[in-house]
């Protein structure tokens, strides 16, 4: 073994190198590494968060869509029901109207019939009187026998 002053020289070199490394080399490099690690970790966390947000938004969107569909079908149902109801009501109303109109028609017809009957009766009466007049013209005075004619007319 060959120990000599080189040992001292190398020891000094070693000390200087370690001191230099400790002061000027290690801190900036490790700081850069740690900073980047933090950045990457932040980025990953952010992307994870964004993914979760997206998922949430998607699920809420589907929820909304389903709700809207439900609502729409409910409205349509309601509308259909209402339409049916309206048709029913209108039909009902139409029926009653028709019946009313028909009934009124009957009444009017009845009244007309009665009036015509009356008229006819009067006419027949008159006719009978005029016929009777013509027959009896020679023998009966109209004034003297009008009460008999009236009675006849009433009987008709």
């Amino acid at each position: 073994m060959n120990f000599n002053a080189t040992l001292i020289g190398q020891l000094i070199a070693f000390t200087v190198f370690v001191a230099f490394c400790m002061k000027y080399v290690w801190p900036p490099i490790i700081a850069a590494i740690e900073e980047r690690q933090k950045k990457i970790a932040d980025g990953l966390a952010a992307s994870e968060r964004a993914e979760k947000d997206l998922e949430l938004a998607q699920s809420s969107a589907t929820d909304k869509l389903r709700e809207a569909k439900d609502e729409a079908s409910k409205i349509i149902d309601q509308a259909k029901r209402r339409a049916n109801q309206l048709v029913e009501e209108e039909t009902q109303r139409g029926h009653t109207e028709r019946e009313n109109i028909i009934a009124q028609g009957y009444v009017e017809i009845e009244a007309e019939k009665n009036r015509v009957k009356e008229d006819l009766r009067k006419q027949v009466g008159l006719l009978a009187i005029s016929g009777a007049q013509k027959i009896l013209a020679r023998e009966i005075d109209a004034q003297a026998h009008s009460d008999i004619v009236e009675k006849l007319v009433a009987e008709l």
């Binding site: 073994m1 060959n2 120990f3 000599n4 002053a5 080189t6 040992l7 001292i8 020289g9 190398q10 020891l11 070199a13 070693f14 000390t15 190198f17 370690v18 230099f20 490394c21 400790m22 000027y24 080399v25 290690w26 801190p27 900036p28 490099i29 490790i30 700081a31 850069a32 590494i33 900073e35 980047r36 950045k39």
Partner: protein, 277 residues
């Protein structure tokens, strides 16, 4: 290896560092330093390791200065990959809080790794270039110019690293546990009785000292052996080509592994030092 007299010479030449020392005649090199004792400097080891360390720190420093938190450049991505790798290992093994451990682990890992990787450079390349420079630049015999470029095959480098770690182990032990806690750890374990204090002390001291020793010897032993084998392979003529290839491929695994083990054990030892019992 044609210019060497014997294989022995060749191997010895490749395993010898370029030395520098100061004597009464001023600053002298290599063979003149044989009697200088402790005060010899391996200028190739120091030069290459400093060059590698400064290059790596300069690159990382520039990346750190221009670091963006957005989309990183390719260089920044590479640097961040290494930093994150080290940071993960530190976080999984070291549970205290310290501003020093992670940069220390990063420096150890990258520096040792790059120093190890110079082992893959062909063993003759830099000695040959250095020889040429010595010959034509300074008029020296190329055999007297030494250039051993892998700093981790020099036991001074590995021991410098482990002594640095050892000092930190002691520092953290004292800082976290206090003098009392540290002394108690050295004397009251593993047998918690006053009569065993000397016995415990011997055992715990051996444990404590074995850590830096094994740390540095493991790295040195692996790298020195692999370098030696590379040099041996280089002495056997044309057969060396497939062998070199196989040994290099193997070392693509071994060299980073050694750097990783050194870093990991440093973290573990320091985390043990910071743990309260």
């Amino acid at each position: 290896m044609a210019s060497y007299e014997t294989t022995q010479d060749y191997i010895n030449h490749h395993l010898t560092n370029a030395r520098m020392c100061s004597t009464e005649e001023g600053i002298v090199f290599n063979k003149a330093c044989e009697d200088a004792g402790f005060w010899v400097w391996h200028i190739d080891t120091i030069g290459w390791s400093a060059f590698i360390g400064i290059s790596f720190l300069f690159l990382f420093w520039r990346v750190g200065k221009k670091a963006t938190t957005g989309v990183p450049s390719k260089t920044q991505a590479l640097v961040e990959m290494i930093v994150e790798f080290v940071d993960d290992n530190v976080k999984s093994s070291f549970h205290g809080s310290s501003k020093l451990i992670a940069p220390l682990a990063l420096t150890i890992f990258v520096w040792v790794l790059l120093m190890n990787l110079t082992d893959l450079i062909p063993v003759d390349l830099f000695p040959w270039i250095a020889g040429l420079i010595g010959q034509y630049g300074f008029g020296m015999d190329p055999k007297d110019v030494y250039m051993k470029i892998v700093p981790t095959t020099d036991i001074n480098t590995t021991f410098a690293l482990s002594i640095g770690v050892f000092i930190l182990i002691i520092f953290y032990s004292l800082k976290i546990k206090g003098i009392k806690g540290f002394t108690k750890e050295l004397t009251m374990q593993p047998l918690n009785h006053w009569a065993f204090i000397p016995f415990n002390f011997v055992i715990e001291t051996v444990t404590l000292l074995a850590r830096p020793l094994s740390l540095s010897l493991r790295l040195f032993g692996n790298l020195y052996a692999s370098e030696l084998i590379f040099i041996l392979i280089a002495t056997i003529g044309y057969l060396q080509l497939p062998l070199h290839f196989a040994w290099s491929v193997f070392h693509i695994l071994v060299l980073p592994l050694q750097a990783f083990i050194f870093m990991m054990l440093t973290i573990v030892y320091l985390s043990l030092a910071c743990e309260e019992h």
